[in-house]
Amino acid sequence: MVFKKLNLILISALMTAVFAGSPLQADDFSAGNSGEKFIYAQLKFKGSWDPYPEAHKLISYYFTKTTSMEMPSERKILTLSDKELFYFPFLVFTGRGGYPEFTEDQIRNLRRYLRGGGIILLDTSGDDEFGKSAERTFRRAFPEKEFKKIPQYHAVFRSFYLVDYVSGRTLNRPYLTGLEIESKIAVIRTDNDIIGIWPQDKTGNPTYAYIPGKPGQQKEGIKLTLNIMIYSLSGTYKSDDVHQPFIKEKLRR
């Protein structure tokens, strides 16, 4: 019985490997490759979808320099109608102001994307209009679901760095909320303009002022951004028992 079960696991493992091995097409980036590189994909829609067009470059630099993964400095821009959407399991969804509603086909694709393992970082930046539009979008896709507060002990706060507090360019809300789909938090929402923390001018100073300028606000924002990206690749890895004594010890100090 054990070996029969083992065979099933092997089948599942192989199957998963095959599915997972194809999140992007190599042709999209000269050096792009699913298993080897992390691709920063961003959602484009009818509205103000790109408040920080250069942010991903610095994110790419930090991500590549500090983790075992590599992230190309080019990003992938996608719409909910693109067939390629399903090859890019991590998607940044940010913007300013309200936007026209997505079509039924696009909502269907969004639903399929999240159920199939995709993860979305939703950064409303504290913009009420954008926030309301986004809420409406997710309510249409998952009417039975609602955003819930992500507890501070969740793996997203420990996936690489130990995050002190939920930071961003602004500190509108001191916690993250999430939409749980297929037993995992598939949409992570922040209202703190976390992407806005990244743009820098030529001298290395932040392009946009941090509000209120709390000590460590930039560092914690960087840590949380990278943690969310690592979480998308590692899931609840840091919740495993083997890590708990070490994490507790570090948090105690």
Binding site: I9, T16, A17, K65, M69
Partner: protein, 489 residues
């Protein structure tokens, strides 16, 4: 005695009356007679008749007399009585049967009747079933005290043969003291960490002076349970012992009843048995060289199955990576490679390496433990990526021995979008993802494309190629069974 008339003899014999007749007959009658004679000779020459005279065969039946020569026959006058019986049988049957004498214990050996005086009961055990199965004779006579302690119960010998068997006991003296283990009830399998009960009965023969003795349960000589039992006045004592196995696999155990001082036969005080110990859950050790979608999705799948215990290690940072914060703000832990690959590996059923190069973390010697693990029944899955196979420095290592591919010295990693195809006529269960070969084949055809492969990987002789990569010649998935376990790239 047989008389055979061969044709030439018969012709001479017949010529004599023919010649006599020719002398007394008239010429015309002679010519007629000669013609008859010629026809008669022609008849004989053509048909060559033979006359054979013989007596019916009165061969005597072969009878084997088997005398128990085990130690228990040395008690009291058993051997003398058995030999007396044998001699009486010889006297009574020698004119009616071809008799052959044998001594048996754990083996059967022929003895000469004239040497019966030198017969010694010195065999270490008794296997009566071997004697019963012997079919060389028309009949068998067994002289034995019936104490078998090797082979199966003679009453349970399944072979049906028509050879009549007569059994006689040696008699002699009072019943002797002997303890024996019987009616052993053991489960064929058990689970690690769960109690296993062993039930059996101890038969107590004779009138022992001791009132009690000990029963031991051992594994590889190590005591794992014991019980003190009362034997005074009892002919049969039911006993229960139990143990909780902590390791998986086919395990050998033995039960032992401490022999009494006057015990005549200690061989039946021991019984050996096996129990196959399984895990209740399948344990998987999954090591990934870097965070990846493969890891993320596979981890979710494995974690969602309650029958699977997953322990995983994900390399989040390499020595070359910088850090922007103090060490105590990182959630990272040290990868316990030594502990995992030298001590704990046998706790797992499946080991997965995904895009993982060992060189930065542990010496090559640890890979021998993985090879041993697979050869002893563990399963190993190596998932490709730049850091697997040659890219992970596995060429010429013990892992190459268990993998179904030859690993080139250098990686031939190629970034290219392709779809894996099921190799023609491949029917391995791993490929049957839908439970129906035709539907499965269609599902494989519709799989999303893959984006990279190592073009230097070649299937070993004897490996089964299940899926093929670009150009039909590139290898994607192979399977082989190097030992009991399986290894797959």
């Amino acid at each position: 005695m047989n008389f055979i008339f061969t044709p030439p003899n018969l012709y001479i014999f017949l010529l004599i009356p023919a010649a006599a007749a020719a002398m007394i007959l008239r010429p015309r009658e002679r010519i007629f007679s000669l013609r008859l004679l010629i026809y008669f000779f022609l008849f004989l020459i053509i048909l060559s008749p033979r006359l054979e005279l013989s007596k019916p065969n009165k061969k005597k039946p072969a009878v084997g007399i088997f005398i128990d020569g085990s130690l228990s026959m040395g008690i009291s006058e058993r051997t003398d009585n058995a030999l007396r019986t044998a001699r009486q049988l010889y006297s009574a049957l020698k004119s009616e049967a071809d008799l052959a004498f044998y001594k048996f214990s754990d083996r059967i050996e022929k003895i000469v009747y004239e040497n019966l005086n030198g017969f010694a009961a010195d065999g270490e055990s008794t296997d009566l079933s071997k004697v019963i199965r012997d079919t060389r004779y028309h009949g068998k006579i067994i002289i034995s005290d019936g104490r078998y302690n090797e082979g199966i119960n003679p009453l349970n010998v399944n072979e049906i043969n028509s050879v009549p068997i007569y059994v006689t006991g040696p008699g002699g003296g009072n019943r002797s003291v002997d303890l024996g283990i019987g009616d052993l009830k053991i489960p064929g399998f058990g689970f690690r960490g769960e109690k296993i009960d062993i039930d059996f009965k101890i038969s107590a023969g004779g009138s022992p002076k001791e009132n009690e003795t000990m029963v031991y349960l051992k594994e590889k000589g190590k005591l794992i349970d014991s019980r003190r039992i009362e034997i005074s006045g009892k002919k049969e004592i039911p006993v229960n012992l139990s143990f909780t196995p902590d390791k998986v696999g086919l395990k050998n155990y033995n039960l032992e009843v401490k022999a009494l001082a006057e015990e005549i036969n200690e061989a039946n005080n021991i019984r050996n048995f096996q129990v196959n110990i399984n895990r209740k859950k399948i344990r998987i050790l999954y090591v990934a060289g870097r965070p990846s979608w493969e890891y993320s999705l596979l981890r979710r799948l494995l974690k969602s199955d309650w029958q699977i215990d997953l322990v995983s290690f994900l390399i989040l940072r390499n020595p070359a990576n910088r850090t922007i914060v103090p060490e105590n703000e990182l959630s990272l832990i040290h990868f316990p490679a030594r502990e995992m690959f030298t001590k704990k590996i046998d706790d797992f059923d499946l080991l997965i390496y995904e895009n993982f190069s060992y060189k930065r973390f542990f010496p090559q010697a640890y890979l021998s433990h993985i090879k041993k693990f697979v050869n002893e029944g563990g399963a190993f899955l190596m998932m490709g990526g730049k850091e697997s196979f040659a890219g992970g420095n596995y060429s010429g290592t013990p892992l190459e021995d268990i993998l179904p591919v030859d690993i080139a010295e250098s990686s031939g990693w190629k970034t290219e979008t392709f779809r894996a195809k099921v190799k023609k006529d491949s029917r391995h269960p791993v490929l049957d993802i839908a439970g129906d070969p035709e539907i499965s084949e269609a599902l494989w055809r519709d799989m999303p494309p893959l984006t990279g492969y190592d073009e230097n990987l070649k299937a070993k002789d004897g490996a089964t190629v299940l899926l093929e990569g670009p150009g039909g010649g590139r290898l994607f998935l192979h399977y082989q069974n190097p030992g009991v376990g399986a290894a797959q790239p």
